[in-house]
Symmetry: C2
Subunit: 351 residues, 2 copies
C-alpha cells in the first residue's frame, strides 16, 4: 500500500460509492487500493457508471445487509502493476470488465472468461482507484490515449456494449439475419448496434420510449415495435411473414420477456439472453417443440474487448451514446436517483 | 384408391398395427392407402420398427382414447406417385422420417423440416403400405437398391440415427471436442456414433447396461460412466479435468437427465436435447450462470438424410446395429412387449 507520510502514519484514502440500504448510496472515503498479488494492477478510474443491475440493490429487491462499495464498469489509466504483470504498464489507458479472469484456464480458452475458474467479481469500481486482479488476463490497453470523446464508448465496451455484443453472438446473428431485440435499456440498444455490425439485414427493436426508439434507429434498427406481450409477438410475426425472427436478443430478464422472446423466434432460431433472470423458468416442452437454441449468461466481455476497442477507435461504433447524463462521482446519489426514476437511461460518472 | 374387383366392390385392405389401450397392440386389417393429393407417394414398407416414444402410449402414460394406428419409422419401395411428384418414382427405395415436410417453406429452408409450416406427422407406419404426403419434400431415394444387410441401418437413419445426429449437431460437436452422452437407448447409442463421425476426440457414454456399454464402445465411446445423478456428474468432471464436457447429448427427456446434462457440461458448452421432455422445466438462473447453449426438439431428420444415406452406403456408419431383435410385422405385439420389458433395445419389424 502506498501511504502518505505525516506526523503519524495513516492509511491513504480515496473516494468511492457505498450503498447503505435501499435508496441510500453515498460517496465516502475508503482505503486506497494497492498491489496485493504480483498479478495485480492499480488503475486510476477515468470513467465509471451505474448499471441497471445496480438498481436491484438500490430498489431493495436484492437485500443490502451491510454497507458495501458499488460499481463494476470502468476504464482508466494504469498507475502501478505487480511484478508479474507483463501485458500492461503504468500510463496506459485500459478497459476491463466486471469479472477479472486469468484468460488461461480451459474455460477462458473456450471464450467464456466470465466463468473463469479463478474469476473475481469487480464490485468496487464507482471509485477514484481500483485494484484489478490478474491484470494480464483482465485488462486490454487501448492502442493510444483515447480522445476525450471516445471515453464514453470505451466505458460502454466494458459492460453494456460487451453484453449487447454477447447477446448478438449468443443468438448467432449472421449477415442477412432478421433480428428482434427485446428490451430498450442500454444493453438492448447496444444489442441493436451489435446486430448491425454483425451484418443483420433487418433489426426489429421492441421499445415504447420515443428517445430510445430514436437511438435504436440510429444504431441500426430497421423497424420499431412498441407493443409488448402477445401483441408484440404478433407484430414481430407480422413483420417476418408469419415465421418469427431468426435471432432474438433477450435483454430484460423477466419471465414475461423470456416468453416474448421464445414466441418471437422462428422455429430453429436462436435466442441470446443477457438480462439476469429473476424467477425465470423455461418450459422444457415449449423449448423442445420450438427447436430454438438458447444461450445466455454474464457476458464474457474479455473475449470481445480487443475487437470492440478497435471498432471504437475506427469510429465504426459509438455505444457511448447510451449515456444520456454525465455527473461527477461526488454526485453518485443523484446518478442512482436519475436512473431509478427513469430520467436517465445510463449515467456516466467522472471521478 | 386401388381396388380389388370381385363379385362386389369392396375396399382394398392391408395389415397394420393398431393400439387399443395400454399393453394392447394388435395387427389388423386397415384400408389400403392410395394417392389423395398430387404430391403424395404410396410406398410398400420394407422395414419399420418400434420407437421408445411408442411406449408412452403402450404404458398408458399417454392416454389412448380410441384405437389408432402406430409407427413413424419406415423405409420402403415407391409403388405409386401423384402427378406432381418429381423427385422419386415407382420402384425406388426411399427413406423418410416421422414428419412429412414440404422442404420449401422458410422453416424448412433454415434446416428445421420437423417444424415445417405444412408438416404432417407420420403415424401409421407399422403397416404394409403407407401414404407419404409431400413426397418431394419428405422422401430421399437411395443411390441404388440396398443390399438386405443395409436395410436396418437405413431404417435407423429414418429416426434414431437422424435423431442422434441432430443431438450431436445441436450440441455443436466439432473435431477435437469432448462429448458426454446421457442415455443409452437407441438414440443415445446413435448419438455416440454421430459424435465419432463429427470428429469428437473423447466420447463419454453414460450407461449401466453391459451390452449397451459394449455397443457404445464399438460406436466410438472412449469412456463409459455407469454412475448416474450426482455421482455421474462427478465422474464426468473427473474425466474432464474438473471442467465438464464441451458438448452433452441429452437423449432421455426427464427432469433428472436434463439436470445431469446441465451439470456435466463445461461453462459455455453446448447441450443437444432430443429426449421428448416429460415435465421438464429448465431453471433460468442456473442456465444463465452456466453460459451453456441448449438446443433440442424433434430432429429435422430430413436435413440429414442425404448425408446419412451416403454414410450408410459407404459403410462408414452401421446404426442398424441398434436393432437387437427382428420380427415379422404380424408379431408386433411381441415387439412392444420385448421393448417394454427391456428384453430388446429396439425391434425391427418386417411386413
Amino acid at each position: 500500500m502506498r501511504r502518505w507520510s505525516g506526523d503519524y502514519e495513516r492509511e491513504a484514502v480515496m473516494r468511492g460509492a457505498v450503498i447503505h440500504g435501499p435508496g441510500d448510496v453515498r460517496i465516502e472515503e475508503r482505503p486506497e487500493p494497492g498491489i496485493v498479488e504480483a498479478g495485480d494492477a492499480v488503475i486510476r478510474v477515468v470513467a465509471t457508471c451505474v448499471c441497471g443491475s445496480d438498481l436491484w440493490s438500490y430498489r431493495g429487491i436484492d437485500q443490502v445487509r451491510r454497507p458495501r462499495p458499488m460499481g463494476h464498469e470502468y476504464v482508466g489509466v494504469v498507475e502501478e502493476v505487480g511484478k508479474q504483470v507483463a501485458s500492461v504498464r503504468p500510463g496506459q489507458f485500459v478497459v476491463g470488465s466486471f469479472f477479472a479472469s486469468d484468460n488461461t484456464c480451459p474455460v477462458c480458452r473456450a471464450g467464456y472468461q466470465s466463468a473463469c475458474q479463478n474469476r473475481v467479481h469487480m464490485g468496487e469500481c464507482q471509485a477514484e482507484r481500483i485494484r484489478v486482479p490478474m491484470a494480464d488476463g483482465t485488462l486490454v490497453a487501448t492502442p493510444e490515449q483515447p480522445a476525450a470523446e471516445l471515453v464514453p464508448s470505451l466505458l460502454a465496451v466494458s459492460d453494456v456494449m460487451g453484453t449487447g455484443w454477447y447477446a448478438a453472438v449468443a443468438a448467432e446473428v449472421r449477415p442477412g439475419a432478421t433480428v428482434a431485440v427485446v428490451g430498450d435499456g442500454a444493453v438492448g440498444l447496444c444489442g441493436v448496434l451489435a446486430a448491425r455490425e454483425l451484418g443483420a439485414e433487418r433489426i426489429i427493436a421492441m421499445s415504447r420510449h420515443e428517445p430510445r426508439q430514436r437511438l435504436a434507429r440510429e444504431f441500426g434498427a430497421t423497424d420499431v415495435v412498441a407493443e409488448r406481450g402477445d401483441e408484440g409477438v404478433a407484430r414481430v410475426k407480422e413483420l417476418t411473414g408469419g415465421v418469427g425472427a431468426d435471432c432474438v436478443l433477450e435483454c430484460v430478464g423477466t419471465d414475461e420477456s423470456m416468453r416474448q422472446a421464445l414466441r418471437s423466434t422462428r422455429p430453429g432460431g436462436n435466442i441470446g439472453f443477457v438480462g439476469l433472470p429473476h424467477k425465470v423458468d423455461i418450459p422444457g416442452k415449449e423449448l423442445f417443440a420450438s427447436l430454438i437454441a438458447l444461450r445466455g449468461g454474464p457476458a464474457p466481455v474479455r473475449r470481445f474487448l480487443p475487437d470492440l476497442i478497435t471498432r471504437v477507435f475506427d469510429g465504426r461504433i459509438d455505444p457511448g451514446r447510451v449515456f444520456d447524463m454525465t455527473l461527477p462521482l461526488a454526485e453518485v446519489a443523484e446518478a442512482y436517483r436519475a436512473m431509478d426514476e427513469r430520467r436517465a437511461v445510463k449515467v456516466l460518472l467522472q471521478p
